[in-house]
């Protein structure tokens, strides 16, 4: 079975393709956009497409019975399993199959795609959080430096002061540090 993965995000497409390699006897190809020549040449049985790809509407149009398209595609919705389509839509993935292919053969492919999409989302989330943490740590370091300079505190004293401010205000220490730096900038601006 030949599966084409269309995803504007090449990293995610690679992850999906890699996951699919473990399923069935499969030939998997990935592309960032729908290219008609490539599709004709590869002749996929299943197209898995990210819902943030604008090319979904091209696949949608191939579902129309048209003269030039002898192998109509249908969007894969397994009616025996209510909720699956909803799950796929929420995961951000859709599958189109060449008419006549049994839904049972498509299901594992869609499962892999959905789980890999979820994994990417989690990885991205983790990365964003790690970045934010790092950013917050940097802000705290700078605020500490400011307090040490302006208030003559040592490093430990500066940190304790920040932590006290954070606890008094019930806000994260990173946010308090950012406020402090912003105010310091304004004051500096006024002085000059």
């Amino acid at each position: 079975m030949r599966v084409l993965v269309i995803d504007p995000d090449p990293a995610r497409a690679a992850l999906v393709a890699e996951g699919l390699a473990g399923v069935d006897p499969l030939q998997v190809r990935q592309a960032t956009t729908f290219d008609e020549r490539e599709v004709l040449e590869f002749a996929p049985d299943v197209v898995v497409i990210a819902s943030d790809s604008p090319d979904r509407d091209i696949l949608e149009s191939l579902r129309e019975s048209s003269v030039s398209n002898p192998r109509p595609v249908v969007m894969f919705v397994d009616r025996s399993e209510p909720g699956l389509a909803e799950q796929a839509v929420r995961a951000g993935v859709a599958a189109y199959i060449v008419d006549g292919l049994s839904p049972a053969r498509v299901r594992p492919i869609l499962d892999v795609a959905m789980s890999r999409f979820a994994l990417t989302q989690q990885l991205r989330g983790d990365l964003a959080k790690a970045k934010a943490d790092l950013e917050s740590r940097k802000t705290v370091e700078r605020a500490k430096g400011l307090l040490m300079k302006e208030r003559g505190l040592d490093e430990d004293g500066a940190y304790r002061l920040l932590r006290k401010l954070a606890m008094d205000k019930g806000r994260p220490i990173g946010a308090v540090a950012a406020d402090l730096l912003a105010f310091a900038n304004i004051l500096k601006g006024d002085a000059s």
């Binding site: 819902s51 604008p54 979904r56 949608e60 149009s61 894969f76 919705v77 839509v89 929420r90």
Partner: protein
């Protein structure tokens, strides 16, 4: 908690998403007690599916897509939709590459200079190309169930060009049509604002006919929700309609256009150049005046007649029933009346004078009472037996 209802509404980056963007950015939603998140989507199919499964509460939609959504098309999550508000009239156009425009002028200079450019020059050119064994010209639309698809098909067929045999119709996502026109991948397209103006301003395309000439005051996009959502959250729907009606009235005001253009040009909205957005606004698109917001039954029936004409729906479908189920002028009127003087009274009362009959550019009369007869009356069509 604030007591505000949370809504997520989807849109496609096109000028006619303006009522949603305005209602959100100018605080009309918030004033109606709605906390709205706008979600920019990449395709119409995704809009349809997300609204169908409830991942979006409502969205900017192609009117025919809303009509087709409940028909249980194979492979689609069938969810009957409602169109309680029309987002705009006009706005699209048929544009061809400058090379094709030159070729058309060469075969039919009078036809190309006419006030209303028909597809006659194209019919002549296609005839000539056939003699030379040239490949068919390729035209793009953005979705099979769209005003753009039906307008292009109508315009071609009116001059004897069979859209399924004499040219090739393809689907191309709106943000890519200009690049494809430039690369020669397509020869022309019918798409909404601002992409026609973009093609012209980049010197790669020439507009042959605008929607406002094709069908003055013709329909285009709607605000769509599922029937189930509307039944579950009638108050939120009314609040959203009020905000969108106020936003549409605001967007029509020429004095607000500079601000509207600035809003739309933001990359998280349409993300096109302000100058081209401004051009389409000034020349074409109507959001509110002339009762633009009223989802008119005759518009729904015209769309359905074209679905019949091109074989998208079978002979057994009750067109009137579908039109009345999906198009809900009553919901619009109820919301519009409660907004007050922002809306012309003529458009909100059921006993208001009937609208002028639909007048397409070719003058062929459309009788909404006989939409199947209308669909079957064209020389070129694919009506299923």
């Amino acid at each position: 908690m604030s007591g505000l209802a949370d809504l997520t509404l989807g849109f496609i980056p096109l000028t006619d998403c303006a009522p949603l963007v305005v209602a959100k950015s100018l605080g009309f939603f918030a004033e109606e007690g709605l906390e709205v998140t706008l979600s920019r989507e990449a395709s119409w199919a995704t809009i349809r599916d997300k609204v169908a499964v409830g991942a979006l509460d409502g969205a900017h939609m192609l009117a025919p897509m809303a009509l087709a959504a409940g028909l249980g098309d194979d492979g689609v999550v069938a969810a009957p939709m409602l169109a309680p508000l029309a987002l705009n009239l006009n706005g699209s156009a048929i544009t061809v590459s400058t090379a094709l425009a030159d070729a058309l002028r060469a075969v039919d200079p009078e036809g190309m200079a006419a006030d209303t450019v028909t597809a006659r020059p194209l019919a002549r050119l296609i005839e000539a190309r056939r003699g030379q064994g040239a490949p068919p010209l390729i035209f793009a639309v953005v979705f099979p169930y769209s005003m753009h698809s039906y307008a292009l098909r109508y315009w071609l067929a009116q001059a004897g060009v069979d859209p399924d045999h004499d040219v090739r119709l393809v689907v191309t996502p709106p943000p890519r049509v200009v690049a494809h026109l430039q690369s020669g991948g397509i020869d022309g397209f019918c798409v909404g604002a601002p992409w026609n103006a973009v093609a012209v301003s980049e010197g790669v395309g020439e507009i042959l006919i605008k929607a406002s000439t094709f069908w003055p005051g013709g329909p285009d996009k709607v605000f769509g929700v599922t029937e189930a959502w509307a039944a579950r959250r009638p108050d939120d729907l009314r609040a959203a309609l009020r905000a969108l009606i106020r936003a549409s009235a605001w967007a029509d005001e020429p004095g607000n256009h500079a601000e509207l253009v600035a809003l739309l040009s933001r990359p998280d909205h349409v993300g096109a150049e302000p100058e081209v957005l401004a051009r389409a606004l000034k020349q074409e698109i109507v959001f509110h005046r002339d009762a633009a917001g009223l989802p008119r039954r005759e518009h729904a029936l015209w769309f359905l007649s074209q679905m019949v004409r091109w074989g998208q729906v079978g002979p057994d479908l009750d067109l009137e029933a579908v039109a009345d189920q999906v198009y809900r002028p009553d919901l619009f009127r109820e919301a519009a009346l409660s907004v007050g003087p922002v809306v012309e009274p003529a458009m909100v009362f059921a006993d208001a004078p009937p609208p002028p009959p639909a007048a397409l550019f070719d003058g062929a009369p459309f009788d909404p009472a006989d939409s199947r007869g209308y669909a079957a009356g064209f020389a070129i069509g694919r009506v299923q037996g």
